[in-house]
Amino acid sequence: MTSNVSRWALLSLMLLLVPLGAWADWGALNMPQGVTEISNEVYTLHMRIFYICCAIGAAVFGVMIYSMFVHRKSKGVKPATFHESTTVEIVWTVVPLIILIVMAIPAARVLIKMEDFSDSEMSIKVTGYQWRWHYEYMDSGVSFFSQLEPTHNQARQMGSDIDLQSTFVPEAGNYQGEGEIYLKEVDNELVVPVGKKIRFLHTAADVIHSWWVPDLAVKKDAIPGFINENWALIEEPGIYRGKCAELCGRDHGFMPVVVRAVSQEEYDSWIAEKQSAMASVTEQSERQWAHQELVSVGEKVYQANCMSCHQAEGQGIPGMFPAIAGSEVATGSIDLHVDTVMNGIEGSMMSKFSDVLSDADIAAVITYQRNAFGNSTGDTLQPAHIKSLRDGLDISAPASVAALPDMNTTTGVN
């Protein structure tokens, strides 16, 4: 009997779905409860609606399934002829309305709380770039870019031989109890103090991004030309990981967010450290670098910033991303090369790196590109040259270069 087959198939399907429903309570499969008052309220709201929906579903499907088993022609039943009832229609319009009101009131309450920006204690400006975040602490002036950590970036390239399972094992120390961190690690974490109401100001420099940290229940679109805000008051120290949530182009999936919440003292000393580090960046761009030093730093910068488009061997992707190996830009005039890296190419995916990378990084990556992938210009570009360009000094002389064998040559920028 086919109807028997159907019945068994239906039963097994239901059995298949039941455990799936039960798992919804597992932490890893559910919305995180998070570490702020708001995130906890959102979680409670979510669970409440989930249970209401389950109850509605159970009632409707229960009646349906009962009817399907009992009211079958094969059981010899004669069909009833009723086909309308105003009372019933009114009941099943009004009852859902009441349920909706019951759901809407607490939701509105949480929403009003979320939108209350008063009494904030600090502001952090978050700017979305393709494909990294820029953080600026409004009070202390500390600012930096934050992007996917280079080993992750290498591992996620097509054809990379890195075994994700064994490379990104959550280490006992750092990531204990955190679960997997592949694609969730950045080079520079956003460090914030616990117990303070922090406003996040969101904007973007190119396309729309969306800054999302599930544990804080914050997600806001970063829109070029406009400013948005939300806030969080983190209660527990810890590392909270998030992602860009709005499609922002090729590497949308690879711009994670990492927030490290620490005690106020730790935060203060971190800020102090950052401030002195920012001072040393200036130092780095003023001193003379050795060729080999630039190449090795440049290789890392390349892997973090250039490789995903221009590929590991600088071969590019034909039709999409030009090759660096043997290219005119990377083997011809160094000024054009500098201009391309610093200012990008308008109307293409080549973005502007002058405000993303430090002087030293730009000099290093250009030096690397001109001496790797079979390019052998032998050029050495000093960070000081980039700095002088950035400072708006008028340099009529071309960036001077030194031949390879002379490893310790200084640049020609005088």
Partner: protein, 186 residues
């Protein structure tokens, strides 16, 4: 077997189709109408941080109203540069503590780092939304496009007044400018 021919259509097909075509064109027009409509809604609600603009006279009229002397609001100034072009763009002061109803001056500094003359435009945005329509400017560099000489720099002034009706739970207003290379360079 009844053999009724089809009634001639009560309304002609052309008329129904014509009406529908009109509806379609009207809705196409409505799509465009949403552009000014959206601006109006933004002005009314402060959606997307569109700020108000007052003439000096209006501003002075507001100023003569009773000023809530003891109320302090922090105004934060934020600067962003959109991609393309080399710029320095920053507020001269990062925050100001202001009293609603009083007029204040602030300024931004912009410098063109490139070797080309560039026309740029700064677009303003205010958050929170609840504050946007109470944030009025009488003078702003954002009202006009700015031409920069190669390596040229400018101080860009701004005069604003916060309406005393600013909702009481707003204690901090962020004014953000984003610097764009103007699409039209002439």
């Amino acid at each position: 077997m009844t053999d009724l021919p089809h009634d001639p259509p009560r309304r002609s097909h052309a008329r129904v189709a014509g009406k529908m075509v009109c509806l379609a064109f009207a809705m196409f027009g409505f799509g465009y109408l949403m552009v000014p409509l959206y601006d109006i809604i933004c002005d009314i609600t402060g959606l997307n941080g569109k700020t108000g603009r007052l003439s000096i006279a209006e501003a002075q009229a507001t100023q003569t109203e009773i000023v809530a002397e003891d109320r302090k609001v922090i105004v934060e100034f934020v600067a962003s540069i959109n991609q393309g072009g080399s710029w320095i763009f920053k507020p001269m002061e990062k925050t100001m503590t202001v009293t609603p109803g009083k007029m204040y001056h602030a300024s931004y500094y912009a410098e063109n780092l490139s070797d080309n003359a560039v026309v740029a435009q700064a677009t303003p945005s205010v958050t929170p939304f609840a504050a946007a329509k109470y944030f009025n400017k009488t003078e702003c560099f954002c009202f006009t496009r700015q031409a920069f000489e190669p390596k040229g720099s400018k101080d860009m002034p701004l005069t604003f007044i916060i309406d005393p009706d600013l909702p009481i739970n707003v204690d901090r207003v962020t004014l953000s400018y984003t610097f764009f290379r103007s699409p039209n360079q002439s």
